[in-house]
């Protein structure tokens, strides 16, 4: 099982060709682990005639049994007893249903060098303390949402002086407190320390729009940053162009575009994707990405749009080796980005079946995890 730790501890973060051998070895070991410990995964591999030895080249990664996030939402599949897991995390359940993914201690141990290396590489790590304003969930014992965990994690790159949250858990559900956050930002304007705003893009957008409408603006201290995690979630329809969002951030908060960082990841694929200085996601060595045809799910060549398939040997507790997201996206050569990184760029373009599903077929609401239409 050392193959996974070797990949995560020893590889430079964006040297894909140089890490291919380590990656393939770790994937083979990861698959073999799931096959021997997870009956469901074993059954799928058997039915599809797959064996870890089939993975010899990077192209062979397409042969890994492909599990859609839908599968993790409907099945709690684990490769180890829960007492052996470091933690269990759920997706944010945008539409009522969520995936359950277990994290083993080996996975958490492997995440350390990944997060540190990437944190340093993207200049997120700073010894200078900062105030944090989180436009997201406050993590609590009552919930296990992956995004809350990520956001909380992001408040450690610079020593935290304070943390305030825009979404609070009150009487069994989250309530937004954007006005409170605006007040907090005004107070932080005068602090000698920088502020780091950690946010869902949609909340940042709505929050900034509201501030602009009210004619409010602040000038946060130099060195302040905006860290964006999570997608547009239920506000997909209002998704805005990145440039418009950055311009708004500059106008309202005084934070320039180069101080806005974005992250991408999924509970089923907790690899730490960071935006480069051109705001693009280059694939790090801990992950390989395939784009698949929306009709046949066959791998597509570079540059074509399809469903995003994320592959990593990171987790032993849950068989998420090759996870099929609901995201539509494309890969383009890293060289064309111009930031200096050569690994391919992943661009997320949308989501499968955006229409909000409501149903009156008996039992379908429960199956879709949408709750009753009641």
């Amino acid at each position: 099982m050392l193959s996974r730790q070797k990949l995560f501890w020893l590889s430079p973060p964006y040297d894909l060709p140089g890490s291919d051998r380590r990656f393939l070895r770790a994937v083979r070991d990861n698959c073999a682990y799931h096959i021997s410990h997870c009956p469901e995964y074993r059954a799928i591999c058997k039915a599809e005639g797959f064996s870890p030895d089939d993975i010899k080249t990077v192209e062979d990664l397409a042969k890994l049994p492909l599990l859609p996030t839908l599968f993790f939402k409907r099945h709690a599949v684990f490769s180890m007893p829960q007492w052996r897991m470091g933690m269990k995390v759920t997706s944010s359940g945008t539409s009522g249903s969520f995936s359950r993914v277990g994290f083993d201690w080996g996975c958490i141990f492997a995440e350390i060098p990944m997060v540190l290396r990437l944190g340093f590489y993207h200049s997120l790590v700073s010894p200078r303390p900062a105030h944090y304003v989180v436009l997201g969930y406050k993590p609590g014992k009552q919930d296990r949402m992956g995004v809350a965990r990520t956001m909380f994690g992001l408040t450690h790159f610079a020593p935290p002086l304070s943390r305030s949250y825009a979404l609070r858990w009150r009487n069994g559900s989250y309530v937004p407190d954007l006005d409170g956050s605006v007040k907090r930002l005004r107070a932080l304007e005068r602090s000698p320390f920088p502020t780091r705003i950690v946010a869902f893009p949609s909340y940042l957008w709505f929050g900034l729009k509201r501030m602009e409408e009210l004619g409010l603006s602040v000038r946060l201290p130099r060195g302040s940053k905006i860290l964006l995690a999570g997608g547009w979630k239920q506000h997909y329809a209002q998704e805005v162009d990145k440039g418009t969002l950055y311009a708004l951030a500059e106008r309202v908060l005084g934070i320039s575009e180069d101080c806005v960082h974005e992250f991408f990841g999924a509970v089923e694929h907790p690899v730490f994707f960071n935006s480069c200085k051109n705001h693009r996601f280059h694939v790090p060595v801990y992950s390989r990405v395939l784009i698949r045809d929306v009709y046949t799910l066959k791998p597509l060549p570079m540059g074509e749009v399809g469903l995003v398939n994320l592959i990593t040997p990171l987790i032993n507790a849950t068989p998420v080796t090759s996870a099929m997201t609901d995201d539509l996206g494309m890969l383009t050569p890293g060289e064309s980005c111009g930031c200096g990184l050569k690994s391919p760029v992943l661009t997320i373009l949308g989501r499968a079946g955006l229409a909000d599903i409501t149903t009156c077929a008996a039992g379908a609401a429960e199956l879709l995890g949408k709750g009753e239409g009641f």
Partner: protein, 420 residues
């Protein structure tokens, strides 16, 4: 938001609004002049004209989900004055009149609490319209997904006809607010529940014993194919892809009139390309096709993981799939263009289907025309309430019943008066 007698109030005034309703407004409205049917028809007619002229387009764009305009276009003919008058005649005609003992009069139940459905934009307004047509005072509990469309429609309607205002209320309250729901139910003479088992059971617990329960629960539908060889299957395939299996009337299972597995297998092989063709032409965006493909992949995985010993055969296609199962159970399909195929010879129909009475809705019947009458009669006896062509399973027909019943008849009571 709350809509109360023509005005919009904030949610914070829920408790006071219900108190006022119970103490003043309901007794006042019910003891005043009854709601004239002509007043309702005129107002609906005026609303229909606004809709046709495009005056409501802004409202629809603002509040309704994409596709609502098309859906509205399809049901528009049913909201015409002519169609509503026909419906009233069909559903309530003949209920009132002279009797040997004297006469029978038709009166509204009084107050209806509608627990409105969220699966189709416009339905919360539609259920209230049925209540208005029968002269009832309507309290509508809006579904979670209602983004203001219903209240906007009510506002428009009461602007066009202010006399409707005391008869229309809408509450945007969550289902878990059982205290408020119980208070509203206590005012009601009839509780109209749209929704799945959970909603139906919840309202049964909340309604006072004297209230009449009117339940429009979730249903399952299927296609029935007999001697289909050589018949056109494209209408069925388009129906499956278009509705995504999400409607009460969507085909979940294609039953074949055969006992032979080999015949069923042959059907699956022939039907898959037809289904793929429908998916290709209906899915206009990559997102739709991707959704179909993800559910098709899920269908394959669930067969492996959840039904390992079943002997089912999965035929995966492009953004769709067909699964041949050995049993005859009527069950939910994998949705989004992923349909189940089962064998059910006609001799077994009367044995198998009545198990699902109360759940059955539509059968899309495909067979040679010479056999249609006989098979339709058999399906009807087995408990099916609608029998259509497979392509028309989710189409609405003017004058059709709702899950085997005439709704307006359920919202009124017959009063017998003896002559001295």
């Amino acid at each position: 938001m709350i809509f109360a007698a023509g005005t919009i109030l904030p949610d914070g005034e829920l408790s006071q609004t219900i108190t006022r309703l119970a103490a003043e407004e309901v007794p006042r409205t019910l003891s005043g002049p009854p709601l004239e049917r002509e007043v309702v028809l005129d107002a609906l007619d005026a609303l229909g004209q606004e809709l046709d002229s495009g005056a409501l387009d802004g409202l629809i764009v603002q509040y309704a989900p994409p596709g609502a305009r098309e859906a509205l276009e399809r049901v528009r003919p049913q909201l015409s004055r002519e169609a509503l008058e026909e419906r009233l005649a069909l559903e309530l005609g003949g209920l009132a009149g002279p009797r040997r003992f004297g006469r029978t009069q038709v009166l509204p139940l009084g107050v209806l609490l509608h627990v409105a459905p969220g699966n189709m934009a416009g339905l919360p307004a539609f259920t209230a319209v049925e209540g208005l047509l029968t002269g009832n005072l309507n309290l509508v509990k809006l579904p979670r997904g209602d983004k203001g469309l219903t209240i906007a429609v009510f506002q428009k309607l009461t602007q066009l006809e202010p006399r409707l205002a005391p008869w229309l209320y809408a509450f945007d309250l969550p289902s878990r607010d059982t205290a408020a729901l119980r208070r509203l139910a206590a005012l009601a003479n009839g509780v109209v529940t749209w929704g799945g088992d959970e909603a139906v059971l919840a309202m049964r617990r909340l309604a006072p014993p004297g209230a009449k329960l009117i339940e429009w629960g979730h249903r399952l539908s299927f296609a029935y194919l007999s001697e289909w060889q050589g018949l056109d299957l494209s209408g069925l395939a388009e129906h499956i892809v278009q509705t995504g299996g999400l409607l009460c009337s969507s085909c979940q299972v294609i039953y074949l009139d055969t006992t032979y597995l080999s015949v069923a297998e042959q059907f699956c092989k022939e039907f898959l390309p037809v289904l793929e063709g429908a998916a290709r032409s209906w899915y206009t965006t990559s997102g739709q096709a991707a959704q179909g493909a993800l559910y098709a992949r899920e269908a394959v995985l669930e067969q492996i993981v959840d039904r390992p010993e079943s002997g089912d055969l999965v035929f995966p296609g492009k953004s769709c799939s067909v699964t041949l199962r050995r049993d005859g159970t009527l069950e939910l399909s994998h949705l989004h263009g992923n349909v189940l195929v089962k064998r059910l010879p006609r001799e077994k129909l009367l044995e198998a289907l009545p198990l699902y009475r109360g759940r059955l809705q539509t059968a899309g019947l495909l067979c040679p025309s010479s056999k249609r009458e006989e098979l339709a009669a058999l399906l009807a006896r087995a408990g099916v309430n609608r029998i259509t062509l497979p392509a028309h399973m989710s189409r609405t027909f003017p004058g059709e019943a709702h899950d085997g019943e005439y709704p307006l008849r359920r919202y009124v009571r017959a009063v017998d008066i003896e002559i001295q």
